[in-house]
Amino acid sequence: MIQKANLEVFAETLLNLAKKDKEIVVVTSDSRGSGKLTQFGKELPDQIIEVGIAEQNLVGICAGLSAVGKKVFGVSPSSFLTARSLEQIKNDIAYSNHPVTLVGISAGVSYGQLGSTHHSIHDLAVLRTINNISIVVPSDNFETRESIKEAVNYTSPLFIRFGKKPMLKIHNESDEFKIGKGVKIREGKDILFVTTGETAQRALLASEILYKKNISCSIINMHTIKPFDNDLFLDCLSNVKVLITAEEHSENGGLGEKCSSIISQSRIKIPFKIIGFPDEYMVNGSQSDVLDYYNMSPEKLAKIAEDLLG
């Protein structure tokens, strides 16, 4: 079932929470429209701070607001937020330990044809190296809503990133969600897909293709990249024959390499493929076209899995 864009769910959730909690403040960098926060600005003008196109300043102001007791959400395109302002995130948020939530909108290759200046396929890698910041990449509307709800009273720095296209429904409303706890969304015995964010739905569709060929798949959605749910990962790994990770991110330094690191420090041997964006000048196209091109179409994921299984 096709749901809304995670971006829309984020904006609705935050507006509803902020109506009940006057300490919630949103900071934007001319990103009110692209963050779907126009309505927020109309209804709660005293709870939104606009700094203009100045991402470094946005992050610093978020830290200052937090330091005087506000529950702060800094909202800006993930590309600019995590590259332009990386030093502010490192020093003013993480090192200074202000429990700000930084929301990277239009993440991954969401901007499609706008090209590499706007893509954020580095954000998970760079933030993984920074102490004291959690990283969440919700896959569907449910995970987005729950992560924003948890973010309000999260006691340490947090980064949440997602895209702006409608998403497949993955969870039921009664499911459990907790930052730091991965979710097993399919149980199978042949293949383990580990996904994050928008690749969860693609692995889900791949698993349906494979199911018709009598190949069964486990899928773990690691909505939290840091702290990583090692236990769930290792637990699921022991019951399958091959492992595939898929992420809307560079192959370098993201989900796949995190999994690789865990495996190589254990005694486990398993056929393994990391799927992400290679270290090359990126092909131009829509988000969907780019993901498809780089082996993240359901068909290609299924084919790679089948080949790996042998």
Binding site: I49, V51, G60, I61, G64, L65, Q88, N91, D92
Partner: protein, 275 residues
């Protein structure tokens, strides 16, 4: 404190700065000496921040954006009983919280700084927060003049002006030198006054090594309603020790034993003359 008492403090503080840098084996000697009078007046007469109210949200804030002159900050915090002199004497020792830039692990430090061009945005955020809650508290921040080359400073000034932060007090330690040489040769920033005025700030200039001038100017805040306050504090880098004053080399230089003894002698003489 009256101005005489503040002047006495400044001499004692300079001795402490020299002492902890000498014993700690590193420090930003000249910059700490240029801004110590500002910190003296702020912590003893203006801020009303002390160990008893530090954990409260309802108080003024001080963010030291020029984090490298942390020895000046540690010195006034120590004198204001945030920690003991014994603790401060662990400066630069393995596993001590007293490192070469401000960290909140040290009692009394508001924000972790060190990379330049960060503190003003944070101070702006604090000042906006107080405005949102209609709280009467002020936010003070100290910037270096070399630091003004950072673009993020000018981003922050735009926001300070937009949000009419008359509860924000920006102090520029205008000592005219940075690690490479004179600010006006490294990357000219003048005409500074005109720049700040054009950004919508209300600007005053003082002798930043005069505790009486500093004390008087802080009493006039807000200079104007709805405008951020900015003080250009004209200082001498290395102020108070003849052979350190205005010498580029002393930005991050450690005094030798002979230099240390000479500096302490000069300061002791100032104390005698003062009494």
């Amino acid at each position: 404190m009256n101005h005489k008492e503040l002047e006495l403090k400044s001499i004692e503080y300079r001795k402490t700065i020299l002492d902890i840098i000498y014993k700690g084996g590193a420090g930003h000697t000249a910059g700490s000496l240029s801004c110590i009078d500002i910190l003296n007046v702020l912590y003893n007469n203006v801020l009303n921040i002390n160990p008893n109210n530090f954990k409260s949200n309802d108080r003024n804030r001080y963010v030291q954006s020029k984090g490298h002159t942390v020895e000046a900050l540690y010195t006034v915090l120590c004198d204001n009983n945030f920690f003991t002199r014994e603790e401060l004497n662990t400066l630069n020792q393995f596993n001590s919280h007293f490192i070469g830039h401000p960290t909140r692990k040290v009692p009394g430090v508001e924000h972790n700084t060190g990379a330049l061009g960060h503190g003003l945005s944070v101070a702006v955020g604090m000042a906006i927060g107080f405005k949102l809650d209609n709280k009467p508290y002020k936010v003070y921040t100290l910037l270096g003049d070399g630091e003004l080359s950072e673009g993020s400073i000018w981003e922050s000034l735009l926001s300070a002006s937009k949000y009419k932060l008359d509860n924000l007090v920006i102090i520029i330690d205008r000592n005219g030198l940075q690690i490479t040489g004179k600010t006006e040769e490294v990357n000219p920033i003048e005409p500074l006054l005109d720049k700040f005025i054009s950004f919508g700030l209300c600007v005053n200039q003082v002798n930043g090594n005069s505790v009486s001038e500093l004390d008087e100017i802080f009493k006039k805040i807000p200079f104007e309603n709805n405008q951020p306050n900015l003080i250009i504090a004209n200082t001498i880098k290395g102020k108070g020790i003849s052979f350190i004053e205005n010498q580029v080399v002393w930005h991050h230089k450690l005094p030798s034993e002979e230099e240390y003894n000479r500096a302490i002698q000069e300061l002791n003489k100032q104390l005698e003359n003062f009494k």
